[in-house]
Symmetry: C2
Subunit: 515 residues, 2 copies
Amino acid sequence: MAMNGAESLVRTLVAGGVEVCFTNPGTSEMHFVAALDRVEGMRAVLCLFEGGATGAADGYARMADKPASTLLHLGPGLGNGIANLHNARRARSPLVNIVGEHATYHRAFDAPLTSDIDGLARPVSAWVRTGMSAREVAADGAAAVAAALAPPGGVATLILPADTAWEEGSGIAPLPPVPARARVQEEAILHAAAALRSGEPVLLHLGDRAVRGEGRRIAARIARKTGAQLLAMTSNARIDRGAGTVPIERLPYPVDPARAVLEPFRHIILIGATLPVAFFAYPGKPSALAPATCDVFALATPEQDQIDALERLAEAVGAPAEAPLPASPRPDLPGGDRLDQDAIARVLGALIPEGAIVCDESITTGRNFFPATHAAAPHTWLQLSGGSIGLGIPMATGAAVACPDRKVITLQADGSALYTAQALWTQARERLDVVTLIWSNRSYAILRAELANVGANPGRKAIDMLTLDDPPIDWPSLARGYGVEGRRVETLAQFIDTFRQALARRGPFLIEVAL
Amino acid sequence: MAMNGAESLVRTLVAGGVEVCFTNPGTSEMHFVAALDRVEGMRAVLCLFEGGATGAADGYARMADKPASTLLHLGPGLGNGIANLHNARRARSPLVNIVGEHATYHRAFDAPLTSDIDGLARPVSAWVRTGMSAREVAADGAAAVAAALAPPGGVATLILPADTAWEEGSGIAPLPPVPARARVQEEAILHAAAALRSGEPVLLHLGDRAVRGEGRRIAARIARKTGAQLLAMTSNARIDRGAGTVPIERLPYPVDPARAVLEPFRHIILIGATLPVAFFAYPGKPSALAPATCDVFALATPEQDQIDALERLAEAVGAPAEAPLPASPRPDLPGGDRLDQDAIARVLGALIPEGAIVCDESITTGRNFFPATHAAAPHTWLQLSGGSIGLGIPMATGAAVACPDRKVITLQADGSALYTAQALWTQARERLDVVTLIWSNRSYAILRAELANVGANPGRKAIDMLTLDDPPIDWPSLARGYGVEGRRVETLAQFIDTFRQALARRGPFLIEVAL
């Protein structure tokens, strides 16, 4: 039997290095599903909801530095995946989104599931193509992989009409060349070096690859020589951190503290970071956070080779060799019995195990987690990147698929968790080693603050819209519903004890932390 | 204090007859939320997930015949609502979608949540507008209400930049005129009448308003005179049915039975129905279901006045007055102990209470529910309209908000329920009188059949992708997580007993029915 389009596509994806498909398939994707049977090397991970699939693919990409694929069902399936595709887009995660579509000849009949899939895909995709024939669809898939990997990394969406899957295909298509990250111009290095030599206060604002680990080491050398300061973006796709790494703080989320942090600087050099801007607009507050008198200069965009740019800048300013970092002792567990944000931060600092991957969608609860965990055991921290809530549990799922030997810890705001809690089921099904900590404050706490920030004057009905305590979510029951064991803790001692037990065992576990 | 844009908009919506807002707000919508406080007449119903809000607005509109509004948070919030907006679009439900957006001047800064909201909205909306100023936004809202109500009814999406909400507004804007449904041309009546007099077999294929109740009565008179047969579409937004109404069967979902049903006819007259087409394409099977020799004629499109067209057609063929329907006894409860689809159908026929609203997302389990419930107590049946699964629980939520005095019964496939189960929480919060029956077959049963239909030859990995039993979903636990009491039943006697108890009490209850 000749190889059909679906099998040609799956074999092409595998040949292109795509090893995992996070699926939520429907009828139009049945040939793709059947092809997964016949092809070695593609792990299929079933998700109950498409936001779980796209968020998992994002988490996978952040850890594996290569794309997973998704398999989604027509426009509505893509629609359910859009929120986490938005996050993936902002994290610049490479991701190959396969979206089933009606057979090419069937679309004109406007059957109930027909919709403008291309139109839905464009706002969240760096690359979109609709397969035109089974003969070409493998080449389309290869182009999608290349597009996902092209710097800075992005969402490539291939729309797959059913007949392009079931008709005779071409066999494996070769991967087009993937361009390397471009080197920055020498002028940019010189401009940054001049700023660093100016004697005026300089901030090295790091994002993307520059903030991960290696970039921070080089940036620290530059800082040692020049007195510049380092700062990460508010949200970062991935930071490898903890003891033995260069500690870095983040730009605060609220506008006024963020402006206060940036206020002293005359030069802000962006390396992988984008312009510091307010997450939201507020009446009477500016959108741009840097002082008007400040020279904000992009040394290296996310598309460019940020590590190379840092190395050249280090050389240009005559930065010394890497200095040994001062030894910082592992934080102690907190005493007392207050179970609050500070206590939680200290528990994390003390208990995060070496090699852990921390998936952080803590929102308000987690704003002070970074300082307390600088000296935790070495670990990787992934953040909500695009502000689209409901990423944490799916992202942890994908990170655990990418790194089966590393403990994954999800720091999860309760309101946000409720968008995509179905991903707990995939954690149970795949026996993933994930501990989910739910910050159970039973409210949209961030919105209570925002309501004040925008100057709105709320009454009972408005407050009611931000409150989740009637009825309260029973998280251990919800987790059990999805096949995951869970427990609610209400004291600091219970939290420490239960978290330790969860870290000591393998497999998914959920802890509802009463706040 | 002058009225800001948000308050002007909310007051305009209320003046336009919009009484309910299904909300899942974020920061950019805080002024709208605050305005809800100051305005009487708009009930705010909080949802944990945007698909719950849009699906609830659809269910509300089907029962109230007027729009609810939603309140969604930027592009990702809209994204999460898209699947059920697709269903609303296919049901032609009037719906005013309010989507928050960054302040107009803030968009250029490309903050993390920035995305092309207009681009995401267009595929699921009949009307899209982005507010340009606080002065105009009330008029925009009035235009949205009018657009939602314009025949045949549709999704109107108003994108609301935060500054158009917080700056000074215009006060209430008047509702533009809403056009009535157009009368069909006399030629169309004559053409249909000629077909009915031809002596050849004629099908009156009813959809939209023509299938609800009144239209079926007129169609039955035409049928009595001419021998024509009546048939509903496969999916129908709303049918008022049960004892004392004209029974009508639906076009089967699978292609071969559907073609067999249509095969005898030489004329198919569409009244509110669209062309009968296959839901999906299959290798070697046609997309159009009517025989090639058949004259398919649209007497009245969904945009047109279908009741008027039926009345004029009845007159043209000299149809008799309405005949009393033969009394059909309430179905008996099934005997035996088999808990299968047939037994469930008979239980529904026997126990559906008078005035109930049945929200049907049964998928495979429910294909034979109609015949067994023709003679049930009078009730209203709402179906999944656009094939985008995850509508049932939200739709029931909205229907219950629209009709607080009617019992709502959700017939819910388990796989589909897992997309939007969060809506159970809104049922608990609002004390809605909804009984949710989960058909727990622990698989994507429809896809197992489809895998065979498309001629794919599945192996273990493919079958595994369609199986939900590892781990099994524990539905009573999941419901408890959301604050809803639930029970699993495994025998017919347990089902009958538990269903009766659930019908006898008020408030949300969930029954997992083991299949």
